[in-house]
Amino acid sequence: MAPKVGVLLFPGSNCEQDVLEAFSGLGAETDLIWHGDRSLGGADAVIVPGGFAHGDYLRPGAIARFSPVMEAVADFAASGGPVVGICNGFQVLCEAGLLPGVLQKNAGLRFLCQTVTLRVASRASVLTRDVEIGTELRIPINHFSGNYTCAPETLERLIAEDQVVLRYADNPNGSMDDIAGVSNAAGNVVGLMPHPERASSPLLGSEDGLPLLASVLASTRAIA
């Protein structure tokens, strides 16, 4: 049976349809999950998509983390289920405490919308389990607050525990240690600023996001 990918929908999310489309193309069943729901509807993987949940008021992700659905996401993550936050979704997962650190304003104070080169830094995550370390991927970024920041001791731990999943080849936003994506200690919760769903077809100029999304699907089969 095809794995079912649940994509959260907050007021202000704007990448959810792209994520649905990309996963459908990989043969997954897909479903939107409203932020007010308390259940994930039997999803085998959860994606927190990009956008501006709750208008990014106070801080990106600060209000979204209190949505009823986030309790279900936390339970799902605690049970080992794959959870991936993309862009604003990464910010939401950090605010929710499911990932370490925080995304602050880009160092240059510019909104960045460009395709960047990423290097896979770890395979110990649901997003990268099927991609070789060192693989270069061309994937778009589209953010104002993507400057990954954490306490120095947290950064040491992330590196030591293989939780830095993706790095920028040419750091666009000031992120510590060129970090573009991190995972939790177990590797089943991942956040990344780049948008793999926007690199999922030759029509979009790159298909480099597909191996990452395919890894998430493969991880649901490994669990089931």
Partner: protein, 95 residues
């Protein structure tokens, strides 16, 4: 209502600032622009957030404790931000 149950009302001003050592690109950008305006003598520009509200509590210590918890859990991200809390007692609620 008995005297010992009477609630007080406090005006609260929370100032959210970047923690020491955390980059403040907005403040730095403002500071860099100042010489062009003739303000060469201005130093140490930092940009934060100002949040105002009122809170009811039995006493000031309780109010401060509740507001501190609110700041830790919601109004700031403790990884990068600090909060400075100012409390001012208003006229007693219901008085």
């Amino acid at each position: 209502m008995r005297d010992d149950e009477r609630m007080a009302s406090f005006s609260v001003h929370v100032e959210v600032t970047q923690r020491p050592g955390i980059a403040d690109p907005e403040g730095a950008t403002i500071e860099r622009s100042l010489p062009a305006l003739g303000f060469d003598e201005v130093r140490g520009v930092h940009v934060g957030k100002s949040i105002r509200f009122s809170v009811d509590a039995a006493d000031e210590a309780t109010a401060r404790s509740r507001v501190t918890e609110l700041c830790d859990r919601f109004l700031t991200n403790p990884v990068i931000e600090d909060a400075t809390i100012e409390l001012t007692e208003l006229a007693e609620a219901g008085a």
